[in-house]
């Protein structure tokens, strides 16, 4: 098993048409179904949705002093919006889950392996 992060991002300056309440309910319904499926198959580890990037705070320690600034990392244009942590047999299985989530929310999903979670000899292929 390998542990993967499936994440979705908001893109700065990208205008999306706001969802109607009806659409929002449908999306949540679809996601709930997928999560149930993930749980039933043993893939689901954790999942969460984040507040808007404006609610973020960055802390930097330099020379022993903590410098706190408002907002997400200024240099990144994309900000984490939500994620799933899943266990999957291989990348194809993880991509299968990612496709389901992407279809449900209408946004791309990045699939990335966690370091140090592979439990097979030699890992990989």
């Amino acid at each position: 098993m390998t542990r993967y992060l499936l994440s979705t991002h908001t893109v700065e300056g990208e205008q999306r048409e706001p969802m109607s309440e009806e659409q929002m309910r449908e999306t949540y319904q679809r996601l709930a179904t997928i999560e149930q499926e993930m749980s039933a198959s043993g893939a689901w580890v954790f999942s969460a949705r984040l507040h808007e990037p404006e609610t973020a705070t960055v802390v930097r320690v330099a020379g022993g002093d903590a410098l706190t600034t408002d907002g997400p990392f200024a240099e990144s244009k994309e900000h984490l919006a939500g994620f799933y942590m899943i266990d999957a047999q291989d990348l194809d299985a993880a991509l299968g889950w990612a496709a389901k989530v992407s279809e449900a929310i209408g946004r791309p999903i990045e699939v990335r392996p966690f370091a140090g979670f592979t439990d097979e000899p030699g890992g990989g292929a």
């Binding site: 993967y4 291989d90 000899p121």
Partner: protein, 425 residues
């Protein structure tokens, strides 16, 4: 490794093959061994190193002992023994060996019970791993040539005009991703096959075309055809695999006629058809006929069919353009791209004349695409608009990827009579 573990060379075999021959035979056989060892060892680098070790042994022994009766089996056995030796020397390796032994209880030759049966499937697994859509196109091509083609990193780098360290880095990154993201080592399930087969075919086609564009790299065309043959032998139910093989064979049949003595490109209209390779044409056409009977057309099969029609004509004038346009019509339905539309327009130009073709070409938005300007130049010339034609030839020549094509275009396309640039050269 105990020397006894290496099968002795056939005593009757003529000794004294030279290192270049060892290299060639080794390259042809090594993909099979790398694929088998990746399955057994679960690690690409380990498998590659082991096969590299076996190559060093072969270079030492084959020139004096002669070729072993089954070079492929010899390489796999020798590489496997070398890998086990390597693993025994490292503590992590000893763990891995213990796990491998668990996977294959009762088999003292760790993990490798059969050498013929699943070996071919291993190569199929490997090509799907190398061409996994999670890898960049560049990485797919490089991995396929390195692991399945047995080309050295230096050879792969040279083939794509990339510095060797750059190519080495590209290969390392790709192998790391395979390992870390756990790109599977298996043939995809049926429902994934159409989407997963497409990049495999694209990689083989790209390797072939890279070879066609660079006559100084003769390995590439041969390697692409070899891979297409392996794939079509292993995937008999996939008509597009057969289609790709036929397309490559038919294109290859014309390669001897493609360049003129001065190195300039000879397009279809100019080629000396006596130079076309008949056995390749026969083989390609036989595959096309089988595809037609199955009647599941796809883009590669249709391109192969178009090339099969060209191969039927003893002179350019005898070409059955009606049939070629009809095939392009079907291709355009399946692959509605401007490039296909351009090639169709060129065929229409032969069937209905330059006026009809020029109208079709005018609708296409392919500014900056060299064959587009070459086609416009040809049509303008045939329409008697010489000045505009000259400008288009200049434009096309500036964009041409190879010196042979630049030469062709600089001489104003086909000399004397009306010129004929053709995508299907």
């Amino acid at each position: 490794m105990s020397p006894a573990a290496v099968p002795e060379g056939d005593l009757d075999a003529p000794a004294g093959i030279d290192p270049a021959q060892v290299g060639r035979i080794f390259r042809e056989q090594s993909g099979r061994s790398v694929a088998a060892l990746i399955r057994v060892l679960g690690d690409i680098d380990l498998a590659e190193d082991a096969v590299q070790d076996a190559f060093a042994v072969a270079l030492r022994r084959w020139p004096t002992d002669g070729l072993p009766p089954n070079p492929g089996g010899w390489i796999t056995t020798t590489a496997r023994n070398r890998a086990i030796d390597r693993l025994r020397r490292e503590s992590r390796g000893r763990e891995l060996l213990a796990e491998l032994a668990l996977l294959a209880p009762g088999d003292e030759e760790v993990g490798m019970t059969e050498e013929e049966g699943p070996v071919d499937d291993d190569r199929l697994r490997l090509i799907f791993t190398c061409c996994h859509p999670a890898l960049s196109g560049e990485a797919q091509v490089a991995l396929t040539l390195r692991l399945l083609g047995g080309l050295s990193t230096e050879e792969v780098a040279r083939a794509f005009l990339v510095a060797e360290p750059t190519m080495a880095k590209r290969l390392v990154r790709a192998k790391n991703k395979i390992k870390a993201a756990r790109i599977p080592y298996r043939v995809p399930a049926d429902h994934d096959l159409p989407s997963r087969l497409a990049p495999v075919l694209a990689v083989i086609y790209l390797i072939y075309n890279a070879g066609l564009a660079r006559p100084e790299e003769p390995l590439l065309c041969a390697e692409a055809i070899r891979l297409a043959r392996i794939l079509s032998a292993l995937m008999r139910d996939e008509p597009e695999v057969a289609g790709l093989l036929a397309l490559l064979l038919l294109t290859e049949s014309r390669r001897p006629a493609r360049l003129r003595a001065n190195g300039s490109l000879a397009v279809l209209a100019e080629q000396d058809r006596a130079l076309w390779d008949r056995p390749l044409i026969d083989e390609g056409q036989a595959i096309v006929r089988r595809c037609l009977r199955r009647n599941h057309p796809g883009p590669y099969q249709l391109q192969a069919a178009i090339n099969a029609v060209h191969a039927d004509a003893t002179t350019f004038e005898e070409t059955d353009w009606q049939q070629i346009v009809a095939l392009y019509d079907r291709l355009l339905e399946l692959a509605p791209t401007p490039v296909v539309a351009l090639n169709r327009a060129i065929a229409v130009g032969e069937l209905d004349g330059p006026v009809a073709a020029f109208e079709l070409v005018a609708e296409l938005d392919l500014e900056g695409y060299q064959p587009f300007h070459a086609a416009r130049a040809d049509l303008l010339q045939r329409l008697g608009r010489a000045e505009e034609a000259a400008r288009e030839y200049e434009l096309a020549a500036a964009l041409a990827p190879t010196e042979a094509e630049r030469e062709f275009l600089r001489r104003g396309g086909r000399a004397g009579r009306r010129s004929r640039p053709s995508a299907a050269s």
